[in-house]
């Protein structure tokens, strides 16, 4: 067996173990806190598969996570730690809302324009912390987190003062034109065209990172910025570029989520997909191709916990415990090292025989 395939085998086994252990841990916690643990456990694990509609919920839930996780992947690959995916996603929603309400375009074109505007706004948002760092070496971690709040209030202000539906009793925008919506693709669920777009974006991001010069430069800079400088790559510009592209992806994600699932803007706080996107990106080991799988898994846990909260006495917060445990275990590199070593030794000695 080649070392590469050994590594793949060990990695995927490790992932499986992590998932199983996480699930066991959940069961254990439920057993301890619940009066009817079996109801809770079964609704958590099997609930999401009980109806077509619920399976649909998993996939719908995965769509925004795919976009934010792809954005996080790009930013982390460039060695940056901007948390802007959250803000870019939310401002992307605003962009799509405005285009959906104010422009009058034919059905095919309308969502495209809306998504382009969403992506543009997302990119601009992401450029701010990136440029602040480029110019004045301000930590992008801090500025992006602060900017996320500013964006949140800016978006709510815009909706409240410029696009609010005066008829509605709570905060909600006017309805967007039906031409702008993304159509459903699976009858009996709310799965929409956005799923396909998300998958295409995953493939494109993978291609960008591993098959294009710009992606190669991002990885170089992310691994060793001094080295990049020494070979004549303008590392600061590459870092900004990576963040801008990431912002665009997150912004488009916001637009897709909005146009696929809603007909008017109703959020009072930013939905937090940017933060969960970090967990998804890490679970996918910063590999864009793995992102959809990781997103679906996290979405499954979210749906399961929701069902459990409704049908038993255990709260849905338990899902955060699982996410935390999974992250910890993924980070624990020593897990299965011994097994990997034995396989490698066996294959290396077998090759000696030739």
């Amino acid at each position: 067996m080649k070392t590469r395939s050994i590594n793949q085998l060990v990695d995927s086994t490790k992932l499986a173990i992590v998932v199983v252990v996480a699930c066991l841990l959940v069961s254990l916690i439920i057993l301890m806190v619940s009066d009817q643990p079996w109801v809770a456990i079964s609704s958590f694990f099997f609930g999401p598969f009980s109806t077509i509609r619920r399976i649909g919920n998993i996939l719908e839930g995965a769509i925004p996570l795919i976009f934010t996780a792809l954005a996080v992947t790009l930013i982390f690959r460039a060695g940056q730690f901007s948390m802007i995916s959250e803000g870019s996603f939310f401002i992307g929603i605003l962009g799509a809302t405005i285009v959906g309400i104010s422009l009058d375009l034919p059905a095919g074109l309308h969502p495209i324009v809306a998504l382009l505007v969403a992506g543009l706004l997302g990119a601009i948002a992401a450029a701010i912390p990136a440029l602040l760092k480029l110019k004045w070496q301000v930590s992008e971690v801090v500025t992006s987190i602060m900017l996320n709040y500013i964006i949140q209030f800016f978006v709510i202000y815009m909706i409240n003062y410029h696009f609010r539906d005066p008829e509605a009793s709570s905060l909600a925008s006017l309805k967007i034109a039906t031409t702008a919506s993304l159509p459903g693709i699976v009858p009996g669920t709310r799965i929409h065209l956005g799923l396909i777009i998300a998958l295409i974006f995953s493939a494109l991001t993978w291609f960008f990172v591993f098959r294009m010069k710009a992606g190669y430069e991002i990885r170089l800079v992310g691994d060793n910025a001094d080295f990049a400088r020494y070979v004549g790559i303008r590392a600061p510009l590459v870092m900004v570029m990576a963040q801008v592209v990431a912002g665009a992806i997150a912004g488009i994600g916001g637009g897709v989520e909005f146009l696929g699932m809603y007909s008017r803007f109703k959020w009072t706080v930013s939905p937090g997909y940017g933060w969960t996107g970090i967990a998804v990106a890490l679970l996918a080991r910063r590999n864009p191709i793995m992102v959809p799988f990781a997103a679906i898994f996290i979405a499954y846990l979210n749906v399961g916990s929701g069902i459990m909260a409704r049908s038993s006495d255990v709260g849905s917060e338990i899902v955060y415990i699982i996410q935390g445990v999974i992250m910890l275990m993924i980070a624990a590199d020593a897990l299965l090292q011994g097994w990997r070593q034995r396989l490698v030794v066996k294959s290396a000695t077998a090759m000696e025989g030739i």
């Binding site: 070392t3 590469r4 050994i6 591993f210 098959r211 294009m212 010069k213 710009a214 190669y216 430069e217 990885r219 170089l220 691994d223 060793n224 001094d226 080295f227 990049a228 400088r229 020494y230 070979v231 004549g232 790559i233 303008r234 090292q337 990997r340 070593q341 490698v344 030794v345 294959s347 290396a348 000695t349 000696e352």
Partner: protein, 515 residues
């Protein structure tokens, strides 16, 4: 009497590399024993196993005849084994004493007994003729002194068996001679020393026996009196190696690089490079000699765009070189083999292939018109590099960090030389590489020169400077102490005197000859 015996040692790294294969290694008490082999032969690995930093996959270790299980370096130290690593392991901001007692602090109540520690450092220094100022900061020490400090550190921890992994790679001849006196002195005191070096002359001067390993396997133990240099390199490399390279007379062409009144000042205004001028021509190898830290690195940084300068100018093909314009400088045709290859010369988590390509992002044959990687071309290019430079690896897609020290160096060289630069700034190009690769690299530099290119060669290996340079500048405290146009007119000792500032040539003459 044997000090140590390693029996049937096999080591397989997690990535599947078999670094040691059934090696038997025997060292007698009170001898200096050389361990030699090509880059990646497995020398460091074998020594790390002895020192408890790696665990052998198979095999036994006997110390003074008794089988021992060494799992950590603490275990090794308890058995009296100490190791000085290939790269320095010191804390620059701490003093000599603080570095030595790190981890074995003597306590006085809750605080560290500094006076007592200082006394200990002084005592040991005197006892072993390695006197160092106990209060000096490590960052102010010369490389030779740092090397002494590393050895003193091991001695104070009670080691009787010393492992020295390429200790001379960074030393000047004077410092090396001094180190050798000390090592011989230690041998007479009954210490056992394992000495790793790629320089046969050093091995011959210092050692009693040599164990040669090749591709992880032992090729035998020899008394140095019974084996010639040619036989040693033959056994290491598996073919005959030319130890001295024939070179033709150079044909000096147009001026390629013109440095005029260049000064580099440090923060406080003290000059690191002090108003120097010189020209470098097509078809010429210009050597720069000097003890490390006399301005060579700053000079190299300016020419390659990595370092700033305050006065003067640098013209390459009549165009000024500007600070930070690395991309333009490389496009103009300047290549750079950096001294500190581990920290700026590689991206350690990327593959060998990706490291080879890093300076070629403008090459259409690899990156296409629309910025797509042309995988096929890239793959065959990196396969060719791995073959030409004999880079030892399982395949070119493994992370570069899994290569041995010398093989990492080869990747850097392969990248820089394959870009066909007009001028290559080579800073210590053969440091840490084996005889075969040294031969190859020197030939490459010479053939670049013969094809009309220019080489600025900064090296602390005097034989290399003598063997390759057409002209030689000696740097001392930021200035040129001498410019030697006829290399037959001077020997290593004489050159050493210029390097230490004991002699200087007439300034007028240096200026004239440097043009």
């Amino acid at each position: 009497m044997t000090a140590l015996r390693m029996e049937h040692i096999t080591k397989v790294y997690p990535n599947g590399v078999v670094a040691n294969r059934d090696i038997v290694f025997d060292v007698a008490v009170g001898e200096i024993h050389a361990l030699s082999g090509e880059n990646g032969a497995g020398k460091t690995t074998l020594m790390k196993i002895l020192f408890g930093e790696e665990t052998a996959t198979e095999g036994k270790i006997f110390i003074h005849g008794e089988e021992q299980y060494i799992h950590t370096s603490q275990d090794a130290l308890k058995l009296g084994i100490g190791m000085v690593h290939q790269h320095f392991m010191l804390v620059p901001s701490l003093t000599v004493t603080e570095n030595i007692i790190l981890g074995i602090e003597m306590r006085k109540g809750l605080s560290i007994d500094y006076t007592q520690s200082k006394k200990l450092v002084q005592e040991y220094g005197e006892k072993y003729h390695m006197y160092l100022d106990p209060d000096a900061k490590v960052k102010d020490l010369s490389v030779g002194q740092k090397q002494k400090l590393e050895i003193l550190k091991v001695l104070i921890r009670g080691a009787k068996i010393l492992i020295l992994d390429e200790p001379t790679a960074v030393l000047t001849p004077q410092e090396t001679a001094e180190l050798f006196t000390e090592l011989k002195h230690l041998r007479n005191e009954g210490f056992t020393i394992i000495f790793i070096s790629h320089k046969l002359s050093e091995v011959r001067e210092l050692c009693d026996h040599i164990t040669i390993i090749r591709k992880g396997e032992s090729k035998g133990v020899y008394a140095l009196a019974d084996i010639t240099d040619e036989e040693i390199s033959q056994k290491m490399v598996g073919r005959d190696v030319e130890l001295t390279i024939a070179r033709s007379e150079g044909k000096r062409g147009k001026t390629l690089l013109k440095v005029e009144n260049l000064s580099v000042l440090e923060e406080g205004g003290k000059p690191r490079v002090d108003n120097v001028s010189f020209n470098l021509h097509e078809g010429e190898i210009l050597g720069i000699a000097g003890v490390e830290g006399n301005g060579q690195s700053e000079l190299v940084d300016v020419i390659t765009g990595l370092g700033n300068f305050q006065h003067g100018s640098v013209l390459f093909q009549n165009k000024p070189i500007k600070y930070n314009h690395v991309k333009e400088i490389r496009e103009a045709g300047i290549g750079h083999i950096p001294e500190d290859r581990m920290s700026i010369g590689i991206a350690s988590n990327l593959s060998i292939t990706e490291n080879l390509l890093a300076d070629k992002t403008r090459w259409k044959e690899f990156f296409g018109k629309n910025g797509l990687l042309i995988k096929q071309k890239i793959r065959s290019f990196s396969a060719k590099m791995v073959e030409d430079y004999a880079i030892l690896c399982r395949d070119p897609e493994v992370p570069i960090s899994s290569l041995s020290g010398g093989n990492i160096q080869k990747v850097v060289l392969a990248r820089e030389l394959s870009s066909k630069p007009q001028l290559i700034v080579a800073n210590q190009p053969t440091r840490g590489v084996d005889v075969g690769a040294t031969e190859f690299i020197r030939k490459q530099l010479l053939s670049m020169r013969d094809a009309g290119g220019a080489v600025l060669l900064v090296s602390s290996d005097l034989r290399e400077l003598f063997g390759l340079s057409d002209r030689l500048l000696v740097m001392y405290e930021g200035k040129f102490a001498a410019c030697i146009t006829d290399l037959t007119s001077i020997d290593e000792q004489g050159l050493g005197r210029y390097m230490l500032g004991l002699d200087t040539q007439d300034t007028e003459m240096v200026m004239r000859n440097a043009q």
